[in-house]
């Protein structure tokens, strides 16, 4: 299974901004699992898209992480993208946004 060590990712992201400082390695691993399995249900395990749009690095090129985090938190009305705010903190949404932008797929 594709599973880079969460602490390495965390170390990388800690350089990119303070917003992820509160994410523990254990939580980071859960978030990574969530991206693969739950986001993957609609966006594909390779993030090439499905009912949801592609989330590959290429597809997201130029997107601001803050904008992606807002989409994750509040969803996209009129589409199947639900608001994840009930399940994620703002820091966690930022962590996911940064992950999608930086983890090659």
């Amino acid at each position: 299974m594709y599973k880079p060590a969460a602490f390495v990712l965390l170390a990388v992201f800690m350089l990119s901004g303070p917003a992820i400082a509160d994410i523990t390695p254990e939580r980071a691993e859960r978030l990574e699992h969530m991206i693969l399995q739950d986001c993957g249900s609609c966006h594909g395990l390779t993030r090439a898209g499905g009912l949801g749009k592609p989330l590959t690095r290429k597809a997201l090129a130029g997107a601001a992480p803050e904008g992606l985090a807002l989409i994750i938190l509040d969803g996209v009305p009129g589409t199947a993208m639900p608001p994840w705010r009930p399940l994620l903190t703002e820091d966690e949404a930022m962590w996911i946004a940064n992950y999608l932008l930086k983890e090659a797929k």
């Binding site: 299974m1 739950d38 390779t46 090439a48």
Partner: protein, 383 residues
């Protein structure tokens, strides 16, 4: 499969062991989709055991499987557009084609000769020769296809997510005949054919309601029902799209998932009117009737996907709540309903339960298991 001949040979010692009959049959076999690793686990239903693994099937998120009429071959539809033909006896890939960029499911014609695949990218349906996997028809339609089912006499029906239409393709004559069945509503998320082959039921995500098309009518037309369920309640987020493929037909009722509500909706088959609702643990994903019983089994969207509930269709009450573990993705019944196989993704297990007293019969190791497909599906209409 039991091998009584081998046992007899060992007991009686009347013949050398090497003369034992090693012929296999496929009637109680199945495949479990291992979504993260792009592999399939071959399982033996009678032995409650894994008997092999087939690898190299690409992206198997949202994969589904149909079987040839002789239950020898499986056709696997992968997310990455892969259509793979697998030999159940040798447990090997016979042929694999990348027929599209992004696909979602498929169906086999009643004569076993045609394989239809529903695609997201490009949209539409492509139809292939079941022997060679050569394409025999391409129906673009410029929309994502959902709910593709086989109909009797070499026909297929489906709906389109983007444009909200239902279509039928008829391959019974020398030329394919394509018919639009009608406009069915905004963003259909899945569709299913009733067990009698009569009604094509299409669930809507973009607006409240379900559309039924009576395929026995001279001129089939969409009829909307359940148009205002939950209209007085605020919609809850839908963290996983429900599926209608579960054949949730019991007695004179359909049971359907409420979208954005943690409820089941019970509907009278003939009048298409709501008869009852059942509050459930979470957003229902699959609602599957336990064959030969009044019960349906329900699993739920994340983050409440560690639970399965059993509901009695006679009084619409939850009669049992099980917690097999995080990531319950699918349930498949033995054809006569005695046991249910449940994939528990995060436990890396398929768990087998007795359908009537709910005791755990067996656990089978599997890598992030999702869909479970027994070969007996070969003989069921509309899958």
């Amino acid at each position: 499969m039991k091998r009584p001949i081998l046992a007899l040979a060992l007991i009686l010692m009347t013949a050398p062991v090497c003369a034992a009959d090693t012929t296999m049959a496929t009637g109680d076999l199945g495949l479990v989709v291992e979504r993260t690793t792009g592999s399939l686990l071959a399982v033996d239903r009678s032995e409650h055991a894994a008997i092999g693994r087939i690898e190299g099937l690409g992206d198997l998120s949202h994969a589904s499987i149909t079987y040839s009429p002789d239950e020898r071959f499986a056709y696997v539809f992968g997310r990455d557009g892969g259509l793979t033909k697998v030999n159940m006896l040798s447990q090997a890939i016979v042929k694999r084609v990348l027929q599209a960029g992004n696909s979602i499911g498929g169906a086999i014609s009643d004569d076993g000769k045609l394989i239809a695949v529903s695609n997201y990218e490009p949209g539409g349906v492509r139809v292939f020769d079941a022997d060679t996997l050569e394409m025999v028809a391409d129906i673009p339609l410029n929309a994502k296809t959902i709910g593709l089912v086989d109909l009797p006499r070499r026909r297929f029906a489906w709906a389109t997510w983007d444009s909200g239409e239902a279509w039928m393709a008829d391959f019974s004559g020398p030329e394919m005949v394509l018919t639009k069945l009608g406009d069915v509503g905004k963003n259909p998320y899945d569709a299913v054919l009733t067990d009698d082959g009569r009604t094509f039921l299409i669930g809507l995500f973009g607006e409240k309601g379900v559309t039924a098309i009576d395929l026995w009518a001279d001129k089939p037309e969409p009829v909307r029902f359940l148009k205002d369920y939950g209209k007085d309640q605020e919609d809850l987020p839908v963290y996983k799209m429900p599926h209608l493929q579960g054949w949730a037909f019991t007695g004179d009722q359909f049971v359907l998932p409420a979208v954005g509500q943690h409820e089941l909706l019970w509907v009278d088959r003939r009048s298409l009117t709501e008869t009852a609702r059942t509050k459930t643990h979470g957003q229902p994903v699959f609602i599957i009737a336990q064959p030969g019983s009044p019960y349906v089994w329900v699993n739920f969207a994340t983050p409440l996907n560690d639970t399965v509930q059993v509901v009695d269709s006679r009084n619409h009450q939850v009669v049992k709540t099980l917690t097999p573990g995080e990531g319950v993705l699918h349930m498949e019944f033995a054809p006569r309903g005695a046991e249910v196989w449940i994939s528990v993704r995060d436990a890396d297990k398929v768990k087998v339960f007795d359908s009537f007293d709910y005791h755990l019969i067996a656990e089978i190791a599997a890598q992030s298991p999702s869909g479970i497909f027994f070969t007996s599906r070969a003989h069921r209409i509309g899958l």
